[in-house]
Amino acid sequence: MSDLIQPLSESTEPPTALQIKLQRRSRWNAVLRYTLLTVVGFVMIYPLLWLVGASFKSNAEMFSSAWFWPKDATVQGYIDGWKTSTPYTFATFFFNSMQIVIPKVIGTAISCTLVAYGFARFEFPGKKILFAILIATLLLPDVVTRIPQYLLFRELGWLDTYLPLIAPAWLAGDAFFVFMMIQFLRAIPREMEEAARVDGANTAQTLIFIVVPILMPALVSVCLFQFMWTMNDFLGPLIYISTVEKYPVSLALKLSIDATEAFNWNSILAMTVLALTPSLVVFFIAQKSFIEGISTGGVKG
């Protein structure tokens, strides 16, 4: 903040009364702003802090105080929670979640890239109509398609398998991601692809060697969102998965609320913390390319 005012006072003459006044005012502004931001930031993050803290509290202490720091910390919640009230441990449920998440993320990355590349770079008959339909599905609320989709997958005999959850992703079913990639591609100049074609690359080679690497930041974002949304998806598995053995983490958490008469809040919270970890880890690993500059370098003045 003080950097901003420096040039004003840099002249050899002593600062005038007005300059001093301006400096003081902007310093006060900075103090005020940062205090406000810190307070609001703390309020926002507090529930999360409480969640982590409370997962180490005993069940008795849980509701005695709104403060997040446990008086006498215990990992009993983690031990009980991991065992669950079912014959399976949480390891099974994590494994199940991965069985849904990983194919879904891969499928999304591949299918969305292909579809977006097609829309952004090629002219074909019916393109306008198809694009309009794509946008329309973006605006369509999910609930509208739930029942027909359920009937379709029942006909296919896919109930109580992960296929209804995974298959749409392989068919670029998430219009939002396709749309996002198209917008990203549109902002990338075509010259690099044209240079590749002149260099002798065919369409597939251009896509793999040129477009995909340039698209990488967008692709990482798509995978990240898909990972988190799928990890957190509750309704999808609830509708299609009926065997406890096949439950993903999101359903398993609910399971521990249902099954016991007196809720073991600390074990529920402990498992919630664990359920959050994969998303957080993935986010921090991907953060660099997620935020990194986009298509600079190839085309600049």
Binding site: E123, E194, A196, V198, D199, G200, G301
Partner: protein, 372 residues
């Protein structure tokens, strides 16, 4: 290496816009051909049809003796340098250079030695391990040039490769490219080049021949001197040369002392040389005289147009004098040491054209009718 031919090539875009109206062009083997014209005259479109990046909607393009209309760019034996460099941002310079060769699965040692050769010629050895974003504009354009050179194509295509560079760098790159072209010619592997620019200085200094385009038509194809001295039409006359040629409507008429041109009630005799060249004996015409070929004389002198000075631009080594003659502005370039310092805005002066250097154009078609 091969020649390049365009035979009544046409281009209509998907939206129905006709950008190129049947052009014929023959670029000889090893020739440096410059396509020049104002923005939007379809230079890029033409070049991209040669490259195979746009479909050809009429006519034929031949490279060597092959019709390439239906070949993909990679199979045409061309290399292209883009205005924006279009380097692959995620590859180091080395891999940018070798991308084409790697696609062709050439042996490693061969790729390595080709990379060394090219980077030596272009002095980019130190840059080989950098990413494009770590290069300056001039360096990036040299790499782009290297990426074209390494393929040893039959035809080089350039689309305004220097317009993103500052003036100084542009001048040095200009020399570098022409030197390279000469060098390849000396090494007996001449490169056929089609070079697009909107900059007439680039065109005049680089081209063996220049093709001037306007609105998807070719206006004239000729070497720089011919283009300057014998422009085929008023468009070329006005486009080539700095400052622009003065093009002013006038009346051509015969008389006792030979033919004369009249404008604003003032007549000047056309002189023997021009009279011999003229293909017309009278009527409305456009007269054309370059600013360098107008001499400042006393107002009311013989065979001079009298006008009023409306602007004076001092350029250092020369002075641009703008004079109004009956509503038409003439620009006249005078070397500083010959310029009468007493002249001021508002003064009346005489402008005497060197008629031997004058051109007369058909007022409707713009065709030069003083070339005979």
């Amino acid at each position: 290496m091969a020649e390049l031919q365009l035979r009544s090539v046409e281009k209509s875009y998907g939206n129905g816009f006709k950008a190129v109206h049947g052009i014929d062009l023959h670029v000889k083997e090893g020739e440096f051909m410059v396509l020049v014209g104002p923005s939007g005259c379809a230079k890029s479109t033409t070049l991209r049809m040669i490259a195979g990046l746009e479909t050809i909607t009429g006519g034929e393009v031949l490279i060597g003796d092959r019709v390439v209309n239906d070949l993909v760019p990679g199979k045409r034996g061309i290399a292209m340098v883009f205005q924006n460099y279009a380097l692959y941002p995620h590859m180091q310079v080395r891999r940018n250079l070798s991308f084409g060769l790697r696609l062709k699965r050439q042996p490693k040692e061969q790729i390595e030695s080709a990379t060394q050769d090219v980077s030596g010629v272009l002095e980019i050895e130190e840059l080989l391990d950098r990413l494009p974003k770590q290069l300056s504009g001039g360096q990036a354009q040299r790499v782009a040039l290297g990426r074209a050179l390494i393929k040893q194509p039959e035809v080089f295509l350039f689309d305004e490769p220097l317009s993103n560079l500052d003036a100084k760098l542009r001048a040095s790159m200009r020399v570098r490219i022409t030197d390279l072209h000469k060098r390849l010619r000396d090494e007996a592997r001449p490169a056929t080049v089609v070079y697009v620019t909107h900059d007439q200085v680039e065109a005049m200094t680089m081209g063996d021949r220049i093709c001037v385009m306007k609105d998807g038509h070719i206006m004239q194809v000729a070497d720089p001197t011919t283009l300057y001295d014998r422009p085929a039409n008023a468009f070329v006359a006005g486009f080539i040369g700095m400052p622009e040629m003065n093009l002013v409507p006038a009346a051509l008429a015969g008389g006792k002392g030979g033919q004369s041109l009249t404008l604003d009630g003032q007549s000047i005799s056309v002189g023997k040389d021009l009279e011999a060249r003229l293909e017309s004996s009278g009527g409305r015409v456009t007269m054309g005289i370059r600013p360098q070929h107008l001499e400042i004389v006393a107002a009311d002198a013989d065979d001079a147009l009298t006008g009023k000075i409306v602007n004076l631009e001092f350029m250092g080594h020369e002075v641009n004098l703008h004079a109004d003659v009956g509503g038409e502005t003439f620009v006249c370039v005078v070397p500083s040491d010959q310029f009468d310092k007493n002249l001021q805005r508002g003064d009346r002066v005489g402008l005497r054209p060197r008629t031997s250097k004058m051109h007369v154009f058909d007022i409707h078609t713009g065709a030069n009718i003083s070339l005979a």
